[in-house]
């Protein structure tokens, strides 16, 4: 086990159920991109899950089954969607057993390395697919063989799907946005989630190397080519939460490019990144 105490604590509390809505959304994003975290959550769900034996059964009303059956009939035949170079059954893997799925996704990401797309877009696309599968796996195309130039469509489609689902869900709540920063295609270095309503960002350091004498700094570029503005230095902890976006409009945040660079302790002395930054854009992961 290489996870630190904070990860383990969050995984355990996720399984126990004591995280608040923001923390759960953050953990859900981590489940999608961080196999180790997903495995830890799965272990905790098994440890605590035995308690269900003591819950008294309650018969649900009959119409519940009618609705489930109608939902299944609508989805059937549940043809597994197909992704490039992978046989269909493997792709039918869903998020029920997070660890297995994430490992599967990670392997698929490696296979995709040949595609000449930005790694950020690739990760966003993966997250999008998983989100769509989470909400409405049935709406994904049955025979889906994306070509390189289809990546844009791949990213957009799940977002539409999620919006479509929103109309059926009565509870309105702020949308969650996630960005995945990757140095290479194999593993995310940072996962950032943004609460557009509160204008806060939460950055989780996943696989990025740690340095005693350096620090990571978060940047925002509101337009292509615009000089990046600092959103602050990331803390030494795995989680850094900041109300850093208060001076940015939601539409600007939504379209901005975010960057993370390695800087001297205390942050960049020049006000601009002094090392190459890794970039990512936001992807909506929960319905608005």
């Amino acid at each position: 086990m290489t996870m630190d105490e904070e990860h383990e604590g969050i995984a355990a509390e996720y399984a126990l159920g004591t995280l608040d809505a923001d923390e759960r959304a953050q953990a859900d994003a981590m489940l999608l991109v961080d196999p180790e975290f997903a495995a830890e959550v799965a272990r905790w769900e098994r440890r605590l899950g035995e308690l269900n034996v003591l819950v008294a059964p309650v018969e649900p009303p009959a119409p519940v089954w009618e609705k489930i059956r109608a939902g299944v009939a609508e989805a059937a035949p549940a043809e597994p969607m197909r992704l490039p170079e992978v046989s269909a059954p493997a792709v039918a893997a869903g998020p029920g057993e997070p660890s297995a799925e994430i490992i599967d996704l990670t392997q698929r990401m490696r296979r995709w390395r040949g595609l000449t797309v930005m790694s950020g877009a690739l990760a966003a696309c993966l997250v999008g697919i998983v989100v769509a599968r989470e909400y409405r796996p049935d709406v994904l195309p049955a025979d889906w063989r994306p070509k390189q130039q289809m990546v844009e469509k791949v990213v957009e489609k799940p977002v539409e799907v999620v919006r479509e689902v929103v109309r059926e869900v009565p509870a309105a709540q702020p949308a969650q946005y996630v960005a995945v920063f990757q140095k290479d295609e194999q593993s995310p270095s940072f996962v950032m989630s943004v609460d557009i309503e509160k204008r806060t960002v939460t950055v989780r350091q996943v696989a990025a190397e740690r340095f005693a004498d350096k620090t990571y700094q978060l940047w925002i570029a509101t337009q292509p080519g615009a000089a990046p503005q600092s959103l602050g230095v990331l803390g030494g902890d795995d989680f850094t939460v900041r109300a850093a976006l208060t001076s940015y409009e939601p539409a600007v945040i939504n379209n901005a490019t975010f960057g993370i660079s390695l800087e001297p302790l205390g942050g960049s002395p020049t006000g601009q990144p002094t090392s190459p930054a890794i970039h990512a854009k936001l992807l909506q992961v929960t319905p608005r």
Partner: protein
Amino acid sequence: MLTPAELVWLMAAVAKGDQAAFERLYAATRAKLYGVALRILRRADLADEVMQETYLKIWHNAGTFDPKLASPITWMVAIARNRSLDLIRKKGETSIEDEPAAMEAAGEEQNPLARREMTEQLRRLLICLGQLEEDRRRMVLLAYYSGWSRDQLAAKFDAPANTIKTWLRRSLLEIRECLGS
């Protein structure tokens, strides 16, 4: 309730798209999952909603279930609980309800029903829960069964939410060490 082996067989059939098996799986597990969801949500309309989401997810994801890693009912309950918790957290409901009766089973007297259904794993878990201080144990059980957040626990136990967080995590670590896994 069917035996775990029967449930595993049903899950495998459901993974292949067998709708009759899915109906049997529903019949065998619906009351448990509804009980779990209702206890957290405390509202039948919300529990109905969660049941639909949960079983559709089970239908789509049965293929990912691995009997080596979890029992079918634990896997299904985890889905129902996560759906319920997502819903209740988003609704931001903070009502504090009665404590779950099932928590009495932890550490002390077990009711006859529980003893009959008790697995070795549950027995070990209850022993470990029984080793926690009483307040800590109640917190863990209120969180698991009733879906209480740190804030709700903070109000109930008259302690800052951060302290609750520390206690919860310490308790969970103690449980893990006690279980030895």
